[in-house]
């Protein structure tokens, strides 16, 4: 019972964060594209394409996780996104770039990024790990039609 509550809390936090984060980016793709460009990681030509599709991947992952329809694929998507975001933020902090992460808002008035942004991203990996583990448990506990390896019974 406690495990179910923990899993639900993690799904609510992770799914909610990603859905919330995607909405402002979907509403203002041109501002988000500028933030993506300021990361100085993608080639200039791919910035718009990335800014157009990324918020929809976040929204899809968040919705799938919240509705509980596809917990394991949703957890994989969101964990992958966080690893990508964390790497990009860490890389830019390490090379001293002056940038906004654009994580939750595309507003240019947002504070510049610090190590706290990276810490927040890493902290979100905890609910992601819980969701991944639970997604795997639920997938593997479904009835299997045939097991790939036959385990012989222990003789009495």
């Amino acid at each position: 019972m406690k495990w179910r509550i923990l899993v639900w809390a993690c799904r609510l936090i992770l799914g909610g964060v990603f859905i919330y984060a995607s909405l402002d980016k979907i509403a203002h793709p041109e501002r988000f594209a500028e933030l993506v460009y300021n990361y100085r990681i993608l080639p200039g030509d791919l910035v718009n394409l990335f800014a157009i599709v990324l918020p929809w991947v976040e929204l899809t992952g968040g919705l799938l996780l919240l509705t509980g329809r596809q917990p394991l694929p949703a957890s994989l998507i969101l964990t992958g996104l966080m690893v990508v975001f964390g790497s990009a933020i860490g890389y830019n902090l390490a090379r001293g770039l002056d940038f906004n992460c654009g994580c939750f808002s595309t507003s240019p008035e947002m504070a510049k990024e610090t190590i706290r942004t990276l810490a927040r991203d890493v902290a979100l990996l905890v609910p992601a790990a819980v969701c991944l583990f639970d997604g795997h448990r639920r997938t593997s506990s479904r009835p299997q039609s045939a097991s790939p390896i036959r385990v012989p019974d222990r003789p009495e």
Partner: protein, 190 residues
């Protein structure tokens, strides 16, 4: 010492088989989930592209951001400031009559900066710039820079140098990001 019986050996074999089964089960479920995750990502990308196509103010899918930003930054330059690109700064920064000023926060300057550059964060410029410029020969070219074309601290510092009465001021628009990208030498301190 208790001898291992055939039943014990059989039990060990069974445990090993069970752990192999569990590993294969994990890999199998992850593989199936990765396939579904890829499908959902592809569908999400299609939804994003479709939504963008339907927007009245849709973004072009491909756009050369570097050229666009350099153009915009050049337009923003105040009269009297000269825009310098990486090639020109690379030729100039070692010259005797050139002074390079780093407008970024001091922590970033300490991590790495253009060799020979002095740190002049914007918030310290009003207090320190006058004294520094008075000690310079008037024909010295002052080059200011910050991170990239999207940060305006380099231009702002350039304007302050101009306002302080120094005539020869250049702004290195592409800044530290392009300097590093081009593999130019850097210096660190602290």
């Amino acid at each position: 010492m208790k001898r291992r019986t055939s039943a014990d050996r059989h039990g060990g074999f069974q445990d090993m088989n069970a752990s192999i089964f569990r590993s294969e089960q994990i890999i199998g479920s992850l593989r199936a989930a990765s396939g579904r995750a890829t499908l959902f990502v592809a569908l999400a990308c299609l939804a994003g592209l479709a939504f963008n196509a339907l927007r009245p103010d849709s973004l072009p899918l491909f756009q050369d951001w570097r050229a666009l930003e350099a153009e915009q930054a050049a337009v923003r330059l105040a009269t009297g400031l000269v825009a310098l690109d990486t090639d020109r700064v690379a030729r100039l920064y070692t010259e005797k009559h050139v002074l390079v000023l780093d407008a970024r926060a001091r922590d970033f300057y300490l991590m790495e900066h253009i060799p020979g550059a002095l740190s002049m964060p914007l918030d310290e410029a009003d207090a320190r710039l006058g004294e520094l410029l008075r000690a310079l020969p008037p024909d010295t070219l002052v080059i200011t820079y910050c991170d990239s074309v999207t940060c305006e601290m380099g231009q702002e510092l350039g304007r302050k140098v101009l306002a302080a009465g120094h005539a020869r001021v250049g702004v290195y628009l592409e800044g530290m990001a392009d300097w590093l990208r081009r593999g130019m030498p850097v210096e660190s301190a602290g």
